[in-house]
């Protein structure tokens, strides 16, 4: 893949043109990735509401009917329900890994088996989350670049 950058002082916002002969899985991934740059979700911070870019999210967890958004070094609460975020973000590399957790596949560093049909995923910030076996195919598909998982 060739990448060309061009400086244009008259340009008000960055513009990306993707030239391809055939729209395949890789092209779709590039488009999803670029679209995710502008995608934000509203979260509640310590003092005020904050817009969090979805690229910064490591995983989203639901605890006692409250939804928490985990970043590299911070945690925010959001009013969205887990299933809403899962539906909204699944095209951007987010995949359900258990009943209460949705993971950003780009934050995944490695995985190891645990006892009783579970896997332990280590994220890029060193944090560990459990993956239920029922969701392993979804993780595999997401890593393979499939859109719907």
């Amino acid at each position: 893949m060739k990448i060309k950058t061009e400086e244009d002082l008259s340009c008000k916002e960055p513009e990306v043109i993707i030239r391809y002969s055939q729209k395949d899985k890789q092209i779709n991934r590039i488009i999803d990735f670029l679209q995710s740059f502008d995608m934000q979700i509203k979260c509640a911070g310590d003092n005020a509401e904050q817009m969090i870019n979805i690229l910064d999210i490591y995983y989203i967890e639901s605890v006692d009917k409250k939804t928490f958004v985990y970043l590299e070094n911070a945690v925010y609460r959001t009013d969205f329900r887990l299933y809403q975020l899962k539906n909204k973000l699944q095209t951007y590399g987010f995949v359900q890994i258990s009943k209460s957790c949705v993971l950003n596949i780009n934050a995944l560093d490695s995985i190891r088996p645990l006892f009783n049909s579970r896997m332990e995923a280590t994220l890029k910030n060193g944090e560990k989350v459990n993956i239920n076996r029922n969701y392993l195919n979804g993780v595999k598909n997401a890593l393979g670049g499939d859109k719907e998982v």
């Binding site: 009943k99 490695s110 995985i111 088996p113 009783n116 076996r133 029922n134 595999k140 890593l143």
Partner: protein
Amino acid sequence: MKKNIVNILATTGISLLLLSVVALFFHASCIYLETVFQAFCINIITHLGIMIIQKIELKNTFTEMVLEILFIVCELLVFGRLFHWFASLSFLLLVFMGVIIYIISHFLNLLQMKQEAKEINLLIKNRNKNQD
């Protein structure tokens, strides 16, 4: 689905093998044909039960395992009576066999999971390589 069928057949095989070892130990000469189908039936129910327990996704692995073993013990108690197994086997021996099969199945499952983890780690590695 395919994986579940394979797992049920595998544990049925292990059950029958273990039963043969116990039978040999007690100087028995044969296993009835109906025992084979009874063991198959018990294994289907065990797998269904364990699948339901794992769907609950308990936070604590130990609690989940205790629940699974309890389910197996209750199942053996009910079906042992139904199939008249206690005429030739003691309940404790039956439970012991159940637990042994459970442990062996978990060990085999762990091996399968290790292979799956290896495949996923390779996918992650390839993905990261493409992104660099």
